[in-house]
Symmetry: C2
Subunit: 235 residues, 2 copies
DNA sequence: CGGCTGATTGAAATGCATCAAACAAAGTGG
DNA sequence: CCACTTTGTTTGATGCATTTCAATCAGCCG
């Protein structure tokens, strides 16, 4: 693991059924479906690395990919988890720069690679699609700004509570109401921006306070409202 | 001060000379210039506040505006400084949400208000402009991601060094090579995400180490390379 | 079984936040 | 024009949150 472990398949799912492509015409969908390349990737696979020049962006229909940057001392900062229906890798593409983050599969995933040229053609030819992707970028920007704010104004304890709430909101729950995404303590730490040990301590503190329940990496939120108070959220 | 102190003027500068509008046709420029509204705003003016519904976005041709969010305890987190040639307020507009940040003039500014409808028309009618604004959003996203990373991985001392370098890069220098933007210690603190006193201590530490020179709020960088080392920057 | 990675706990060190107080500068009103 | 208020800057001292180091434990895989 940790090494490329892809298998290019000829999986011919029609991407037009996903909301992201809703504004495309029939012809555009045909081109898209023809040019896309399906990549089934196992946990640990690195999709692209910081410094790479990408040839296209990625659309994910299954699994989870973490997007992160690496600091000088080798510590990671996770910026985002991409899952079903998300796109990633488009930012550096459109800015015409090398990737400034790394993306790694943390839950076996199905990815579709879509060439840059197709993206450009669509943006230039289809104003509605153009607006769609612009709105996606704006939404990401909003989340990033909220993230900056929470880093600047909140303590580690508050940030952990907020991250748990975000994971709860953005990822499916299993039959036992546990958040399906399975992160190591270290990955949680790299999201919150702290040390692994600190995460462990606060998690067990939350558990003691009956805010959450832990079963290995599977977390269940027991008291949503109280956790929101800990996170100092208004809504 | 602190209260609205605008004066709507009929200033008829042709906006097409700014790079942001470079992709517009002659006709589009005419409409833009007709629909824009010039607002001369003094230091302290609040352009819009968190929770407002905006009717358009802003283009700035002079002065500086700080964009920030306010925490529960009233503390501010500054997200961005907008100056000449920048746009702001477009994000919440395109996401069709109320503003999630406040913008306040910190250096007497000339702003142009451009109605949402014009923005939408341009994005839908002009693919090149559409791509331009998409790239701007992507660039902002890149900066935001770097900001998240520096919050997550760096100490306050390192962050302050990085912010000083960013200000040095993004704002003009005066005849004495000092960074023209004039921030209070508190505003610096609200950018770095720490307390005013901490900023003061590190600033005088940097001064003692001959990395910077201080003359009130005007900062001059004396040793760029060494400051980059402090900020743990690679480039 | 032994070696690996990840999780956990404890103790010590430190970076930062907070509180308090003094000072400087700038604007306000008598 | 001077006392007064206000706002911003500075310094010191203290306490707390978080980091770091060290050691142990649990689980997994070949």
């Amino acid at each position: 693991m940790g090494i490329n472990n892809n298998s290019e398949s000829t999986d011919d799912i029609d991407l037009s059924c996903f909301p992201f492509f809703k504004s495309l015409t029939k012809e555009e969908c045909d081109i898209l479906n023809f040019e896309k390349k399906c990549i089934a990737s196992q946990r640990g696979t690195i999709v692209y690395e910081e410094g790479c020049r990408l040839s296209g962006f990625y659309f994910i229909t299954r699994g989870i990919v973490k997007i992160y940057k690496t600091g000088i001392d080798g510590k990671e900062q996770i910026i985002k988890f991409a899952n079903k229906g998300d796109i990633f890798g488009y930012r550096s593409l459109l800015s015409e720069e090398t990737a400034c983050s790394t993306s790694k599969v943390i839950e076996d995933a199905i990815l579709y690679h879509i060439p840059y040229k197709i993206l450009l053609n669509l943006v230039e030819a289809n104003p509605l699609f153009s607006l769609d992707i612009l709105r996606i970028a704006c939404d990401e920007l909003k989340e990033a700004n909220e993230c900056i704010t929470y880093f600047g104004l909140k303590t580690v304890r508050e940030r952990l509570a907020e991250v748990l709430l975000l994971l709860h909101k953005n990822f499916k729950l299993d039959t036992d109401q546990r958040i399906q995404i399975s992160l190591t303590r270290e990955e949680l730490a790299n999201t919150v921006g702290t040390a692994t040990e600190v995460i462990i301590r606060f998690l067990s503190e939350f558990k003691r306070e009956k805010l959450i329940d832990l079963k290995g990496r599977k977390i269940k939120i027991l008291n949503l409202n109280e956790l929101k108070k800990v996170a100092k959220l208004t809504d």
